[in-house]
């Protein structure tokens, strides 16, 4: 690797340094825009006791769900889980911890974490189980709770196009949490469908500037659909 070239030669290299007990922030919503090959590499690598900050935990056999098979996940910080049987089994058996976090708060935790803001006040969750034990402040007659931001030891994201400098562009709603996740890793690893040369992406159209990305790899993707809904025509 030289200068600003972030491209690595293998998935093993992309996740070098990921160790047991670390916190990983993952982009994706449902199975849309998930870094599927990086997840597969974590499974291959066998890293354990991981905390994942991700909106969902995949499904049985795909996405983060595959990491449940060998009990590699200790804790999930998510807004919506339970699309897989294995998840519920491990949760009920006390083998897996889950911290349910409102979706917008989860996104903001990543955004703030990446932006150097350690905590923020939000009205979301005030007066609900989410607000229990959290500091409450009143601003202009409304109640807000203090939420702490997150920074991951690693962040793993998936983009459509990326150049060697790590500049990323996402495609359609596969963007979702990926831009926030990309900012919030001590080491951010991006996998892309298309690797292009610097200068090929229009600078003002770049979603994630390369400064946030430490490692980049091109992969091929299954892009499984969770709810296939079509109309006639």
């Amino acid at each position: 690797m030289a200068g600003f070239d972030k491209v690595v030669g293998s998935y093993a290299e992309a996740l070098a340094g990921l160790e047991d007990g670390m916190t990983v922030i993952a982009g994706g919503f449902g199975l849309c825009g998930i870094p599927e090959n990086l997840i597969a590499e974590i499974k291959r690598k066998g890293t354990r006791d991981l905390t994942f900050v991700s909106n969902n935990c995949g499904v049985d056999g795909f996405g983060l769900g595959v990491l449940l098979e060998d009990r590699q996940i200790r804790k999930m910080v998510s807004s919506y889980v339970g699309e897989n049987k294995l998840f519920m089994e491990q949760l009920l058996a006390g083998e897996l911890e889950v911290e349910l976090t409102p979706q917008g708060t989860l996104a903001e935790k990543m955004r703030a974490g990446g932006a150097g803001i350690p905590a923020f006040f939000t009205a979301t969750g005030y007066g609900t189980p989410v607000g229990e034990g959290k500091e409450v402040r009143e601003f202009n007659g409304r109640h807000y709770i203090l939420e702490e931001s997150v920074v991951g030891d690693f962040a793993i994201v998936k983009a459509w196009k990326g150049d060697r400098y790590g500049n990323l562009v996402y495609r359609h709603t596969a963007m979702n949490f990926n831009p926030e996740a990309a900012t919030a890793g001590k080491i951010t690893v991006a996998e892309v469908e298309q690797l292009v040369e610097p200068g090929e992406l229009e600078p003002s159209q770049i979603h994630t500037p390369g400064i946030y990305v430490n490692r980049l790899i091109q992969g091929s993707f299954e892009k499984r659909i969770e709810q296939r809904t079509v109309r006639a025509g």
């Binding site: 807004s79 339970g82 979301t124 007066g127």
Partner: protein, 218 residues
């Protein structure tokens, strides 16, 4: 006759106004999109990061990178925009969405809503519901008036864990259209053929019944 799911959606759709940005939750709220009154334009926001959601794709249009908050494949209308999750919830939390329609298990006279969790049952999570009710000034809840066992869902105080406090001002049930104000429910309209007595009997929270309660027409 109690309203069908489609009629509930139709009733909610009458609250749409030209130029509204609207977030529709899963279930009956999703059906509201089918009943946008003629002559007005609304734009649907899907909290995974899409403003300007269109219909389901045709087989040829199907794209795994194009989904809605229910994880269903969708299309984007001409003039749509797509953005990140933080941006999406900035819109929601910041009060930029004009109307939010969502389902619930319970609503009480203080405008509290319980919609995401039944203790003892599997808990899947709140998704974006807590952000939506915290951020929107204009929320309509759609739900059946009572459970299958005849227990009212319109309560003096919610019994289930809350999704949000003091945020619900309007409810469309299969029996009635009600407003929530001053710590009471106000009966505004009744479903065709449903008597005020039926509604009173199935409303556990304090209910104000005006002298005339017009019947909805479809």
């Amino acid at each position: 006759m109690a309203l069908s799911r489609e009629q509930m959606a139709q009733r909610v759709a009458r609250e749409l106004q030209d130029g509204f940005y609207v977030n529709l939750g899963i279930g009956i709220p999703t059906l509201v999109a089918n009943y946008v009154p003629p002559g007005i334009e609304v734009m649907l926001q899907s909290e995974n990061g899409l403003l300007g959601m269109g219909p389901f794709p045709t087989e040829a249009e199907l794209d795994p990178d194009m989904i809605n908050a229910g994880k269903q494949t969708v299309t984007a209308i001409s003039g749509a925009s797509i953005f990140s999750s933080a941006e999406s919830f900035a819109m929601i939390r910041g009060g930029h969405v004009d109307l939010t329609v969502l389902g619930a298990f319970e609503v009480d006279v203080a405008g509290n809503i319980a919609s995401y969790m039944v203790p003892g049952k599997l808990v899947k999570g709140m998704g974006g519901a807590m952000d939506l009710v915290a951020g929107a000034d204009n929320i309509i809840v759609t739900m059946t008036h009572a459970s299958k066992h005849g227990e009212s869902k319109l309560l003096e105080r919610c019994t289930l864990p809350l999704t949000g406090v003091a945020c619900i001002k309007r409810v469309v049930t299969d029996l009635a259209y009600l407003e929530v104000a001053d710590g009471r429910f106000w009966l505004r309209e009744r479903a065709p053929g449903v008597s005020v007595d039926d509604i009173v009997r199935l409303t556990a929270g304090e209910l104000v019944v005006p002298e005339t309660v017009p019947e909805m027409t479809f």
